[in-house]
Amino acid sequence: MAILSSSIARKVAMALSGLFLVLFLGQHFTINITSVIDPDTFNSWSHFMGHNILVQFILQPVLIFGVVFHFVMGLILEIRNNNARQISYKSFKGNKNSTWASRNMIISGAVILAFLGLHFYDFWFPEIIHKYVESNPLDATRYYPELLHKFESPVRTGLYCLAFVLLMLHLWHGFSSSFQSMGWNNKYSKGLRAFTQFYAIFIPLGFIFIALYLHFIQ
């Protein structure tokens, strides 16, 4: 961890873990959108992800590490940054020179983290218990009904949607910012920024659509 002792190294680590999570998000979305298009595909892809050894025992731990790392590093940075200004301004007009999203990554991040707690409670823990504790027999058709069941409650659906809005804000700044952190700022940056902003809106919006769709078809 010695390499993480400098501010720039920490930034880069934050950027890399963030980019990894962005990739994961895209993959997650791709699978989820099939639930709207064709529940059978959803079932078979989910089954694959749930039982492939590579996914379960290599990618899954890496992902969990990525999430935890991104969170812990974010928290460390936040604490350090708060320490860098011990007496705060009576008047500070951050909105004159920067976006709310860029200044409040800790807030959007915390909401997303809380959401992840809910999400784990909803899907991941039951799944782990189902597979590894209770050792239930294989059933490649259970995923879609379980999914539908979760979106019955309007409160949960609402919470999901709220979290996705915050995710949108988090991505809006975080995705393009990660390239700047890694030193990537050149003539292609404008195009890249447009792409990241499109992604930041499209993916969470897609998740919201899926949540609402699944809620309202019931």
């Binding site: 720039i8 190294a9 940054n81 301004y89 020179n97 700047q180 030193g183």
Partner: protein, 248 residues
Amino acid sequence: MKLILKIWRQKNNQAKGELKTYPLDGIEGDMSFLEMLDILNEGLINKGEEPVEFDHDCREGICGSCSLQINGEPHGPDRLVTTCQLHMRMFNDGDTIIIEPFRAKAFPVIKDLVVDRSSFDRIQQAGGYISVNTSGNTIDANTIPINKHDADESFNAATCIGCGACVAACKNASAMLFTSAKVSQFALLPQGRIEATERVLNMVAQMDKEGFGNCSNTGACEIECPKGISLENIARMNREYLGASLKG
């Protein structure tokens, strides 16, 4: 015009400070912000009160002495100016103006609005130079042609005046823009490449040691910088730093 000033008063580094209110009349649009403070101080002295201390020197926007967080922004609401070049025509009759010192752990308050920015000097001392002796026996200045674009970019980075507005504007009190401006100036020139690795490692290490925050790319520094130093410099420093770290 008439104004209500709310100014941070603090006797010394140890004392607790507070905002004090001063009404002021007879201010004209053609006055600079510091001339407005001169008038306030003249009045305070005549009344037997202690004048407000603030840093200033050249009053033409180049020495980087003047600072001040004015209504929540370093160097006030105008863009691409320092406080000494901020004119009162930017304000309206009856306005309340809150004036605070630049705030950062690495910029401790000395008195009132005066802060200690020697941390910036120490960052420069850590590597903000090219190691050449002043013998006069270097090669002829035109021996190495330098691409005009690179020379111009280097110059743009070199126009940093070291005022600290970037730190003051940053929600994290980060000094990345300041440090990266010097790293960039030299990184873009062939004569600066030779020590580029050590320079970026040493300057960043010193920057961290001084207690500045981390950059989170909000871009506030670039907007508030009176010289318009670009965020590209920070990206360049990140790049240089990564390269240097990998080289070891």
